[in-house]
Amino acid sequence: MLASRALVRGLQSGFWRRVSTSSAAWAAHTHDVDVVDCSVPQYNNRLDTPLPDVPFVRNLSAKQKKLKEKEKGSWTQLTKEEKLALYRLTHELSYAEMRQGSKEWMTVLGGVFIFLGFTGLLVWWQRVYVYGDVPHTLSQESVAQQTQRMIDMRVNPVHGFSHKWDYEKKQWK
């Protein structure tokens, strides 16, 4: 029983997202962590929603609080860095950052090719070490004998096989 509990705990910390019932501590923490409280409005980066429900950073440090106070005055008094800092407090990603793609497709394609290649190696090994010999009837000599027999039997003499054989000259037309 203890082992299974340890297993669950290990799985929880490793893979499962815990949806916490104690929202108080986490509600203000709007970064994407393991705990997501779905009962309160969440921050989101969406092109069609320019102003999200909550600001990105909710727990302001003292310095950030001072900046927020300064925001209440004339914005012409703010430096460019301060304006940028205010933007980043409220928004995680700018529109340009939301729109930018990633190079993930290269990784995906590379992974696909790697696995295809590995599969090819497996198939090759299988061909060499697992499959037995082909039947003797596929040897050159056997095929020649078979073809001669088909000609003698007049297989498909109208339009097909034997039609292509010149019986006078004893060769293919």
């Binding site: 092109l47 069609d48 929603t49 320019p50 102003l51 999200p52 429900d53 600001p55 925001e71 209440k72 004339s74 914005w75 012409t76 008094q77 703010l78 460019k80 304006k83 940028l84 205010l86 933007y87 407090l89 409220t90 928004h91 700018s94 529109y95 340009a96 950052e97 729109r99 930018q100």
Partner: protein, 141 residues
């Protein structure tokens, strides 16, 4: 506040790109089977009034802006001017910058709309001290 929200829900999507350079200036022939069709001026006036409310609150600003961006049009500079001033009343510089970003994004392939809007809004931007996204360098990822 509720009346404003109701008015928002009644208006339908308007497929009209409003900009000074004339290319698709034709009004969408949206033929309702009944009821009067709202003109562009009425639409603009309604939205300017919405954002011009002196005691607008943060929720109303967000709701208004998100709804407006949801429509199939780029808002007229006068609506955006009212929205920016609403941001000023709410002491929210980040939203003001975000609105400008959203306008640029909304114009899509029509690259001439955003410079026009900025040009029209320049006096307001200077007066309120709102930087453009380009000035802050966030227009490039």
């Amino acid at each position: 506040m509720f009346r404003a929200a109701l008015q928002l829900s009644v208006s339908g999507a308007r497929s009209l790109t409003r900009s000074r350079p004339q290319y698709t200036a034709s009004v969408a022939a949206r033929s309702y089977s009944h009821g009067k069709q709202e003109t562009d001026e009425e639409f603009d006036a309604r939205w300017v009034t919405y954002f011009s409310k002196p005691d607008i609150d943060a929720w109303e600003l967000r709701k208004g802006m998100n709804t407006l961006i949801g429509y199939d049009l780029v808002p007229e500079p006068k609506i955006l001017d009212a929205a920016l001033r609403a941001c000023r009343r709410l002491n929210d510089l980040a939203s003001a910058i975000r609105i400008l970003e959203a306008v640029k994004d909304k114009s899509g392939p029509h690259k001439e709309i955003y410079p026009y809007v900025l040009q029209e809004l320049q006096p307001t931007l200077n007066e309120l001290g709102i930087p453009t996204p380009e000035e802050l360098g966030i227009d490039k990822a």
